[in-house]
Structure formats: structure tokens, C-alpha cells
Symmetry: C2
Subunit: 163 residues, 2 copies
């Protein structure tokens, strides 16, 4: 199974104001003021039909600045080492990023979005609509994150980003 | 940008009771009774540390049975053609699947999960913890899905799957 190689190609590019990984917020919730543009290659334009109806969309993207895998990491929100699959840290075996962003509007093949915690120039892999019906879950247990109070999370999550 | 090729390798395999794509529920919410096992390659075991603390996890996987791209599709829940990026249909340019499943328990490198809408033998790409803090959003607009009443969605979403 491990011998299988899966080839993907970018379907577009994400434009944001974040050019420094050290100063990029770690999740959309800490990047509420950050707007950005998702530019989809024009050949895929028909695939964007009806997306305007959704308030939130998932962006799946390739974390192109990641060049090493770490199976345990100290997450930005925490001070203790955790398994990488229990975190959203980028140093994953397959460096796929997932962000739930607010869709403000569409202009042809450009999506204007808010809550962008993504580095400028990141290759886009896929877009999926967020559905309250599928994913509007109130989870009781959020692992190690439950021990981190809101203001600490906010401070650490925004990192050096200032609006 | 489109010339860039991104290579991923499976980190494990998803075991489920779904062997027929025609009878597989389309989302975890329509597969509430379906339990399955996520088997992570033993080399990645350290990456699973602390994942047990989370009630829900995202599975990202390669839709390995998809061999054609369709930019517009009639979603299972609907009767009208929609842009593929406004749906969760599999025939995407990069066939990455995303399911939010309930984590029941872990045994070493095996995760027992519930809400499995995934075909047996599907290659796993990544696991991410679901966080109420990041993704517990009550979306006001769910596009074309808002027009579909709950019982119709339930019936279409479960497809031919019977518990």
C-alpha cells in the first residue's frame, strides 16, 4: 500500500497577506480579519457554479513550504509534545492543509474569502462546501485543546499577526 | 502552476462494510450506524499520540475508484446539476475525500470510528482532529442544500444502505 503514489495537480492558487510562516495565524478562527483571494484556474470555472450559495467553504491545499515530517510536535497552541495527527501542525507525512473559511463573494474564477490562515502563493487542491447538516457538530471532547483557556488560545493562535 | 505535480503516499487504509459504491452512504451523517476501522501504517504510530482525547476526527483519503473528472454533477441529495466544488461528489479534479467521523477508541495503530461513509480499502492520506474551537460553526447559508427537507435528505443520503 505504501508503494502507491498518488499524483495531484494544483487547481489554483491562494493569495493572502501572509508571506512569513512565522507570522501567519494558525487557524481561520485566529485570522478573522484576514481576507484573501482564491484564484481557480479558468479551466475549472464550471466547477464553481452554485458555490456562491454557501457561507463557508473548506479549502484543501498543499503546504508547499513543508519539507520535513515530524511525527510528534509541540503545537502552537500548546507547550507539550503531541502526535502530529492530534494537531493541525504542517509537518505531516502528506502535507495537506485544511481551512474552513467564509466565502464573501465570487467574481468569475476568483473567490473572495475571510479567515485566511494560509501563506500567500499556496497551491490549491480542492474546495468543498461546508454544510451545517454534515459538519455542524458540537464536540464534547477536543483533546488537549480543552485545557487551554480562550485568551491563551487567542494569543497563541494569532501568533505575531496583528490586524 | 498547473505543471506542478504533488506526490502523496497512503499512510494507512480504511476498512468498512461498504464494498459497493452504489450502496455507500454519501456522508457520515447518513452512516451513523456504520462503524469501521482506520489502520495506520505502524511506522506512523507515534503520530497518533493524544488523538484519543478527541471525539471527532477528519479523515482525508484518496477516492481511489474515481477515474473521471466531471466539473458539473447532479449531487445525490439533489436533482439539479451543480458545480462539483459546490458538492461533495467524488468526480473532482483531485479526488480527495473528507469525512468527519466519531472516534470511538484506539487500539495501537487502529482507530475504531463511527459514521463511516467510505468504501472498504480506501487509502488514507491524513487525519486531523476536529475542534469545536476551529470548526463549530453554525452556517446560515448552505447553498442548494437549504432547499432540501430533512427527510428527503435522509432518504437520499443513506442511498441503498440499510442498517
Amino acid at each position: 500500500m505504501n508503494k502507491m503514489i498518488i499524483d495531484y495537480r494544483p487547481i489554483g492558487i491562494i493569495h493572502s497577506t501572509h508571506t512569513n510562516p512565522e507570522k501567519t495565524p494558525i487557524q481561520p478562527v485566529y485570522a478573522r480579519d484576514c481576507v484573501g483571494k482564491v484564484e481557480i484556474d479558468i479551466q475549472y470555472l464550471p466547477g464553481l457554479k452554485d458555490i456562491d450559495g454557501f457561507s463557508y467553504i473548506y479549502l484543501l491545499y498543499h503546504l508547499h513550504r513543508v519539507h520535513s515530517v515530524k511525527l510528534t510536535v509541540v503545537p502552537f497552541l500548546d507547550t507539550v509534545e503531541r502526535g502530529v495527527f492530534a494537531t493541525r501542525a504542517p509537518s505531516r507525512p502528506n502535507p495537506i492543509g485544511l481551512s474552513l473559511v467564509e466565502l464573501l463573494r465570487r467574481e468569475d474564477n476568483i473567490l473572495h474569502v475571510r479567515g485566511v490562515d494560509i501563506l500567500d502563493g499556496t497551491p490549491l487542491l480542492d474546495i468543498k462546501p461546508y454544510s451545517s447538516r454534515f459538519e455542524g457538530i458540537e464536540s464534547k471532547r477536543n483533546g488537549w485543546q480543552d485545557a487551554i483557556d480562550q485568551s491563551t488560545a487567542e494569543e497563541r493562535g494569532r501568533r505575531k499577526f496583528k490586524s
